[in-house]
């Protein structure tokens, strides 16, 4: 099973919970942070909606 490693959002009131949350000021910063984190964590960045990216770890589960 895939695992959520981190969230990046521009609307911090929308998110809460166990994974680390990164707040971005605008869309450009959101994409940049997602890009950086994808390379750093080796986890795929997926866009859930316009203001929220998920970093998902598939290395441990089956893909």
């Amino acid at each position: 099973m895939a695992r959520i490693v981190a969230l990046i959002t521009t609307r911090k009131e929308d998110v809460a919970g166990g994974a680390p949350i990164f707040i971005a000021g605008n869309r450009a910063e959101l994409e940049k942070t997602a890009f950086m984190l994808e390379k750093l964590l080796d986890c795929g960045a997926h866009e859930l909606n316009h203001s929220l990216f998920l970093l998902v770890d598939r290395n441990t589960g089956d893909h």
């Binding site: 997602a34 994808e38 986890c43 866009e47 290395n59």
Partner: protein, 306 residues
């Protein structure tokens, strides 16, 4: 002179011919093909040596049995034991290597290769046995004929089925609907980053595999078979991928309603025709082949199952 010697030393001639043809059979089965395995001299030497042993065991068993040394049959069981070890050896090696591959082979493919290596040694024994038996019982030169015949049989055995036999392979456009990636009409995954989407659009080749019948549908749905396809395509065309790029990955998903398999591949060489050829010549894995159509037909009107 030599002919006379061969007539008088029939056992030895048989053993020699048998060993020769057995080893020949093993060598035929060891083309280093596009799967690039075994690719290195040492791997090859291991298999040639084992092939020689297999051939020698097969051919020596015949004269012993012929002279009523029936315990010689235990030789062959010893050989079987040896070659089960070969399977283990291959499995262990390939599993160890697989962790270091950008696109792994997957367990089913490894198991298939390991079994093939074991089986090839038995084919070498078979060729040796037939050759040596014929040349000991009949005039020695009939062994030559039997040897060539057994090589033909071995050659025939080597040809397993490939994807081409069970499905049609075509390219299909990769398109993005926002951040969702589709190949043809099949949804594959969500790609969040624009950079990745651009790379996939530019370098990716979308392929759709359409199964020809119900059996084929089950076979290509198998995850091991799917991974084998991705691995073979990546080996033949290279792969545009590195660590830290988790979404630049060759991927396959089923269209559940039609049973089609949609693939996205990221080859180093952009050549759609080659990609299709690569997919078509992927061997069908023994672990993936199912025959539900036949099974259901046989099962009709037969409630119990032994």
């Amino acid at each position: 002179m030599i002919w006379h010697w061969m007539h008088t030393h029939r056992d030895l001639t048989g053993v020699l011919l048998g060993t020769l043809f057995g080893l020949g059979a093993r060598l035929i089965l060891m083309r280093s093909d596009y799967r690039q395995y075994p690719a290195y001299p040492h791997g090859r030497i291991v298999h040639i040596a084992l092939g020689l042993i297999a051939a020698a065991l097969g051919s020596v068993a015949v004269p012993s049995l012929y002279h009523k040394n029936y315990t010689a049959i235990t030789f062959l069981s010893l050989a079987a034991q040896q070659f089960r070890e070969v399977r283990n050896m291959e499995r262990t090696t390939l599993n160890a290597i697989d962790k270091m591959e950008l696109v792994p082979r997957g367990a089913a493919y490894i198991e298939g290769i390991a079994v093939a290596f074991e089986g090839r040694n038995y084919l070498a024994i078979f060729a040796a046995l037939i050759t040596s038996m014929t040349s000991i019982i009949f005039p020695w030169w009939t062994g030559l004929a039997a040897g060539f015949l057994s090589l033909l049989v071995v050659f025939r055995f080597m040809r397993g089925k490939t994807i081409r036999h069970i499905a049609d392979v075509q390219t299909a456009p990769i398109r993005f609907d926002g951040h969702n990636m589709y190949v043809g009409d099949v949804y594959l995954m969500n790609v969040g980053l624009k950079e990745n989407r651009e790379i996939i659009e530019k370098r990716g080749i979308g392929i759709v595999i359409t199964p020809k019948n119900g059996n084929a549908r089950v076979t290509i749905a198998n995850l091991g078979q799917r991974q084998a396809i991705l691995y073979d395509v990546s080996t033949r065309l290279g792969v545009y991928r590195d660590t830290g790029e988790p979404l630049l990955i060759p991927l396959g998903k089923l269209a559940l309603d039609t049973g089609q398999l949609a693939l996205v591949t990221l080859p180093r060489e952009y050549d759609p025709r080659m990609a299709i050829a690569a997919v078509e010549s992927v061997p069908l894995l023994e672990a993936a082949v199912r025959m539900p159509v036949e099974a259901n037909r046989q099962g009709e009107g037969r409630a119990d199952h032994g």
